[in-house]
């Protein structure tokens, strides 16, 4: 019984967080704020669903694979966001009009690509 409630709670949290992430991707004003929503909330949402699945099955094969899925998302989602953000900024995607400061532009080294 407790296990069923836990599984349901984790699945619902995961579904709600996916909705929040997509709402952020649709609604926020520029690429970088959208990436905030996609990276953090998307990762936590799919991790919550994975945890729910791990509790539901409860055997060692599924748990080890679930841990693999979560670790993989925690490692790759920030790296992907970092690469897209850097490439987009260098290719001239503009920041939101209300962005306060941009220290990267004022004293960063936006020189030639080195890779």
């Amino acid at each position: 019984m407790i296990r069923e409630i836990l599984v349901s709670a984790f699945l619902l949290i995961g579904g709600l967080l996916s909705l929040v992430a997509v709402a952020g991707v649709l609604r926020l004003p520029d690429l970088f704020t959208r990436m905030h929503a996609a990276t953090k909330t998307g990762t936590v949402g799919v991790s919550a669903i994975t945890i729910g699945m791990m509790i539901h099955f409860g055997n060692i094969t599924v748990t080890s694979r679930g841990v693999l899925v979560i670790a993989f998302f925690l490692l790759t989602a920030p790296v992907a966001a970092h690469m897209i953000g850097r490439a987009a900024y260098r290719s001239g995607v503009s920041l939101w009009i209300l962005t306060r400061i941009d220290e990267w532009k004022t004293h960063g080294d936006l020189g030639e690509e080195d890779d």
Binding site: V20, R27, L28, T33, T43, G58, T63, P78, H107, G108
Partner: protein, 159 residues
């Protein structure tokens, strides 16, 4: 490191003795084995031994990281609901002490997953990390918060 192997062996032994190999029994065996090992070592030696110290640090960091993850998704949820002009995003540079590739990668990943910040790029001399933040009230406060909170914790774990 040697003690870690011993601890894993104890947890396997526990799982075999209780007769069912599952995640729960392995975890329980590991925790019990850890406490058994701490009992074997006197208190002053326990402080010196790097395995016990590292374990406590890993546990503390894992709890801290989980808390930050939950807070960050909660904050994104609030940001999505709020009217947009309340946001004050900005790009700021943070001087970093992390040196090796592993340290910089971990720091950038963890900054991306904590509330309100997203790492964008590392400068060529590997001294500055440029991040995008959702709310920049005062750039110096934010810089201090990340240096004293996240980076200090991460470096004391990795070094």
């Amino acid at each position: 490191m040697q003690l870690f192997v011993v601890n894993v062996l104890i947890s396997m032994l526990w799982a075999l003795l209780t007769g069912k190999v599952s995640v729960g029994s392995l975890t329980l065996g590991f925790v019990l084995g850890y406490f058994a090992l701490t009992l074997l070592y006197p208190a002053e030696e326990e402080k010196k031994n790097s395995y016990f110290q590292k374990t406590m640090q890993v546990v503390r960091f894992a709890l801290f990281f989980t808390k930050e993850l939950v807070v960050s998704s909660w904050r994104v949820a609030i940001d999505v609901i709020k009217p947009l002009p309340l946001m004050r995003p900005g790009v700021i540079g943070i001087p970093i002490d992390a040196e090796t590739d592993l340290e910089i990668t971990m720091l950038a990943n963890i900054i991306s997953l904590t509330p309100g910040t997203l790492s964008l790029d590392v400068s060529k001399d590997r001294k500055t990390l440029y991040i995008h933040a959702m709310y920049v009230a005062n750039p110096d406060d934010l810089r201090k918060e990340i240096k004293d909170g996240l980076e200090r914790r991460l470096l004391e774990l990795l070094r």
